[in-house]
Structures are given as C-alpha cells and as structure tokens.
Symmetry: none
Subunit: 67 residues, 5 copies
C-alpha cells in the first residue's frame, strides 16, 4: 500500500472547507437574488467567510507536511 | 504506508470547523441581506462563533502533536 | 504507520462539536437579524448550547488520554 | 499503530451527540427569537432533548471501557 | 492495535441515533415555539420518535456483544 495517511487527513479538512464555502456562497446568491442592490454589502462578508473557511484547509496542507 | 494517524484526526476536526464556519457566515450573509443595517450588530456575533468553532480545530492541531 | 487511533476518535468528536457550534451560532445570528432587541435574551442560550456541545469535545480529549 | 479502536467508536457517537445538541439549541434560539415569552416553556424541552442526545455519548463512553 | 471493530459499528449507529434525536427535538421545540398550546399533543410524538431512534442504538449495543 503506497501513499501517506496525511493525504487522507488533508482531504477530510478539504471536505469541510468546500462544504462551508458552498454554504456561504449559497447564502450570498440567495441574498443577492432577494435584494440585488445588497450585492455591494454582501460581497465582502462572503469573501471574509470564504477566507476563514479556506484557512482551515490551508492549515491542514501545512500540517500535512509538518506531521 | 507512511504518514501519521494524527493527521486524519486533525482533518476530521477541520471538517467540522469549516462546515461550522460556513453555517455561521451563511447566516450572517442572510441576515445582512434581509436587514443591511443589522451588519454592525451581527459582525461581532459571527466572529465570536467563528472563533469558538475554529478553537476546536486549533485544539485538534495542538493534540495532534501531543498524542 | 505512526500516530494513535485515539486522535481519530478525538477528531470525530471535534467534527460534531464544531458543526453543532456552527448550527447554534447560525441560529443566534438569524435571531438577532430578525429581532435585534432579542440579543440580550439569546446570548446566554447560545453560550449554554456552545458549552454543552463543546463539552462533548472536551470529554473526548480527556478519554483520548485515558483509553 | 497505537491507540484503541474503541476510541474511534466513542468519537463517532460524539459526532452525532454534538450535532444533535447543536440542532436542538439552534431550534431553541430560533424559538425564543420569534417569541421571547416562550423561553419558560422551551427551556425544559431543549434540556430534555440535550440529555437524551448526550445519553448516547455517555453510553458509548461506558461501552468503550466494557467492550 | 487494540480494541474491537464492533465498537466502531456501535459508534456509527450512535452517530445516526443522536442526530435523529436532535432533529426530533428541534422540530418539537419549533412546534411549541409557534403554538405553545400544542405541547400536550407534541410531547408523546417526540418521545415516540426518540424511542424509535434510540432503539437503533440499543440494538447496535446488543449486537456489539453478540457478534
């Protein structure tokens, strides 16, 4: 059996990050659909949430090399 | 088979943290879409929730080295 | 193969704890977005729920060392 | 490979318990946000649900030592 | 590697049981929040649902010893 278990852990963190980003952008799309003029306010919030959820995945990538 | 099982555990905790962050920011986006003037009140709540969900991931990183 | 299976169990408990915290704070954000004056009543409820969900993770950390 | 498979089973039960607690408290927060005067009625229901969901985790801790 | 795979199976059944209990009590809390006078009717339904979801976990405990 080849490969490393670290890749499984990184993949699991990626699962959550992708679902979380999906939830945030789904809410962003819904919000703009309901109030198109709100896009200017919602965009930075959605991107902040994206960055914070993605950070979990970036940390997992880093620790996959460290551990 | 290389790698450490601890990375799998860290990845699993990351799954939950990222989904939790996604849920919180999705609610934040929805709340601001419905009431743009509520952003000032919602931001600290969303960031508190983010910090508490991220804390689970940070604790898992720490114990991945300890265990 | 390094690492301990206990870390996987701890990570699994962390998955649930972080998703649970996310659900509670998402509801908290939604509630305050709908009724900003309800924040005073909702905050202790959200923090009680956070503490009870986090307790599952804390117990799992403790038993990861005991088992 | 160190650790015990029992800890994985305990962690899996913890996943469900923590998500369940999150669902119950999210509903509790939403209910109080909609009707602040309902808190007196909803609190025992939320705590009963918490106790029954937590019981699954407690049973899993017990059987992690027995099995 | 210590422990028994049966405990993992029991934990998986516990995951589902606890999430199911959470869903039932979340709906119960929501129902009473909307119509406080419906509590008398909703309580036996919620407890029946709890018993049926918990039965899955109890059966899994029994078969963890039998198998």
């Amino acid at each position: 059996m080849e490969g490393t278990l670290n890749m499984i852990g990184m993949g699991l963190a990626g699962t959550g990050a992708a679902i979380g980003i999906g939830l945030i952008f789904a809410a962003y799309v819904n919000g703009v659909a309901r109030q198109p003029e709100a896009q200017r306010v919602l965009q930075p919030i959605a991107l902040l949430g994206f960055a914070l959820a993605e950070a979990v995945f970036i940390l997992a990538i880093v620790f996959a090399f460290v551990l």
